[in-house]
Symmetry: C2
Subunit: 154 residues, 2 copies
């Protein structure tokens, strides 16, 4: 078995035993070495964003002191939900290995597939009502930011 994925599975198992959250683990690797590990800690931390990949990304960023993880790879025991997929993108991680699929996650009761279907426009999100208001006022910070010649891009 792939060594890094094996460690991700161990993280997932540890998280279940300690009742920290869902059955998910992730490992971030750079140059063949583990930078960080993470498991789902939604229950432990009361943070709904504390999915395994997000936990691992935050730890890797903290350890490396940068938000750009473009020299890293991520191993995750399950195909990331859209939140985590997008977080991997924002972290600029270019390579991802995943184990179980979104359908596997749906079978044990997780909404990953539902969310993908919503974002793909296949179904309407009946759980979230959204409405656009005050667009012109919200463009004021955009303009200020766009004109800032000294801003650090991310």
């Amino acid at each position: 078995m792939n060594n890094f994925m094996e460690i991700a599975v161990q993280e997932a198992l540890k998280g279940i035993r300690k009742k920290e959250g869902g059955p998910f683990g992730a490992v971030i690797v750079k140059d063949g070495e583990i930078i960080s590990v993470g498991n789902n800690q939604v229950i432990l931390t009361n943070d709904p964003t504390a999915h395994a990949e997000i936990v691992a990304i935050r730890r890797a960023s903290e350890k490396l002191g940068r938000f750009d993880l473009s020299d890293c790879e991520i191993y995750t025991t399950c195909e990331p939900c859209p939140m985590c997929y997008s977080a991997i993108h924002w972290a600029k991680i270019p390579i991802m290995y995943y184990g179980a699929s979104r359908d596997d996650a749906a079978e044990i009761g997780f909404d990953d597939k539902y969310l993908y279907d919503v974002l793909q426009g296949l179904i309407t999100d009946e759980k979230l009502m959204s409405k656009q208001i005050e667009r012109s006022e919200c463009l004021i910070p955009f303009k200020l930011y766009d004109e800032d010649q000294e801003k650090k891009l991310y």
Copy 2:
């Protein structure tokens, strides 16, 4: 102007002035009272997941001591990226008001629209190579979790 959105805009402006990150702000409200505010802090914290909505959700969850924010609303100065949209979903927030659109964000250089297009299958994600490996081993934690009668759902 809507009071809560006005505060979200002020958070965004404060974040730009302090060079904390992108021009985005968010406010979480419960029963007409502000529970938390957030602005993009990717630069300040070196955390690529520190978008305004995620920051506000983490603070609200910490303040209320629970991951379930189903009695809250969120005001955000920009249509959330898929990461934040999904985080709002995982936090079970049922009502969202947003100001600027994903197209407005694209115009000042942010990838929100790109990510939505990727997740909708409209374009291929050339920035992220993904590959499924070791599915059967990764299903072991799923099975253990699924059989745990005492697990706390989230």
